[in-house]
Assembly symmetry: C2
Homo-oligomer: 244 residues x 2
């Protein structure tokens, strides 16, 4: 297995990144000095610096000698970085973020469906169909359902053959997983939404780009409504915490 990086460095980066995106440090504010972070987090300066370098790479902070490490304005944050998005999700999802997320999904997912339909390879289409079958399989299990839903959407991005779409899908997969988890937290996927998935799948496999885009638009609409219902009244209050 590829571990990616040491535990401590990743933990420090997550700790600092999470606190920043959660608003623990206001933009423009300076973080504690490296020496103080070492003491607070109980790690060496090397580890702190490597973690801060990662945050810098994501546009969260700017660091300069004598000035210290400053939190940059949110417009400079790389919101499409999977980790940044993950930290935001972990910090809690509010209505504004959900609106913005669906706004952008509505912007590119229908187009991705169109491209997947018109030029996806046979293998791509088989993968999409396979994930739909998994999603529609009897014997409901929450985790498996969420995974299948996520895989279904990601496979569509892959089928576009456009690296930007693929990266976009990877970037928002964390947020997608959250939204699937929210809408399916109590009940299995509604029959109507399952039907809409089927429409998308069928249109793509028929290489009908227009129909695929339209179906995806409908699916997003329905999903947004389901989520609004799940999030608004009886559900958790305004901000929803991610599962531990």
């Amino acid at each position: 297995m590829i571990v990616g990086q040491g535990k401590r460095c990743a933990a420090v980066a997550s700790e600092l990144g999470g606190r920043i995106v959660a608003g623990g440090f206001a933009p423009g504010e300076t973080l504690p000095t490296e020496a103080m972070l070492c003491a607070q987090l109980g790690v060496s300066r090397t580890t702190v610096r490597e973690a801060v370098k990662q945050l810098h790479g994501k546009g969260l902070v700017a660091v300069s000698p004598r000035n210290g490490t400053r939190v940059r304005a949110t417009v400079h944050w790389n919101q499409f970085d999977p980790e940044v998005l993950g930290w935001r999700v972990a910090a809690g999802v509010d209505a504004v973020m959900l609106d913005q997320l669906y706004e952008i999904r509505d912007c590119f997912e229908p187009r991705a469906c169109q491209l997947a339909a018109s030029r996806g390879s046979a293998g791509d289409h088989a993968a999409i169909a396979g994930h739909f079958t998994e999603l529609a399989a009897p014997g409901w299990d929450v985790e498996r359902g969420i995974a299948a839903d996520l895989a279904f959407h990601l496979a569509i991005f892959v089928a576009t053959g456009n690296v930007f779409f693929i990266s976009l899908g990877a970037a928002i997969s964390t947020a997608l997983r959250l939204s699937f988890g929210l809408s399916q937290r109590r009940a299995p996927i509604p029959a109507a939404e399952l039907r809409l998935h089927e429409d998308v799948c069928h249109a793509i496999l028929s290489r009908d780009g227009a129909a695929a885009a339209l179906s995806m638009r409908r699916l997003l609409d329905a999903s947004r409504r389901t989520l609004a219902i799940a999030a608004a009244p009886g559900g958790p209050a305004q901000t929803l915490e991610a599962a531990p």
Copy 2:
């Protein structure tokens, strides 16, 4: 001025990142060990490690003990990271990349125009108009024209008020700058394209979302054609190097 980070670390990250995206290391291949990189680049291991950490944060490499540092498959790269995109541009732009770039611009920019029209603030609109004025100003200067064009498009993203659109704009700004540079390398912006910019600007300021989206679609079409002409025949060969 905020320097962001030390010179050497940034230089090492750019050097390695650039070589990776340029194909100098094939995906799956292992980079030289940290010790060898120290020797090759003439820096200490600390610096190399901080640079590699940044590359890891962008999804370009995975590091594990004994295995060394491996280049990940391109699907894992965070293509929307401004630096990654910048390195790709610096490594040369081919027809495939241009197609994919315009595919995604065509997906996002019309919608951004629509949102900017319907809910951009007065200040946002003033900024857009200001950049257009600058673009249309007499007394042509290549650098100033490119900067104004870029600022015009970025201001539209900012006016959406959606952090994802804003990040997207920042991410592709490097590529946008390149494409503007290509199309305007010899002549100033064509009158027809200037007119299309005016249409976009006017539609946004009139808060006519549909017209703004349509105008932007036309503008992208025209721009793509101009670029195809500039890049194909007499221009530089198949791959175009970025300006130094």
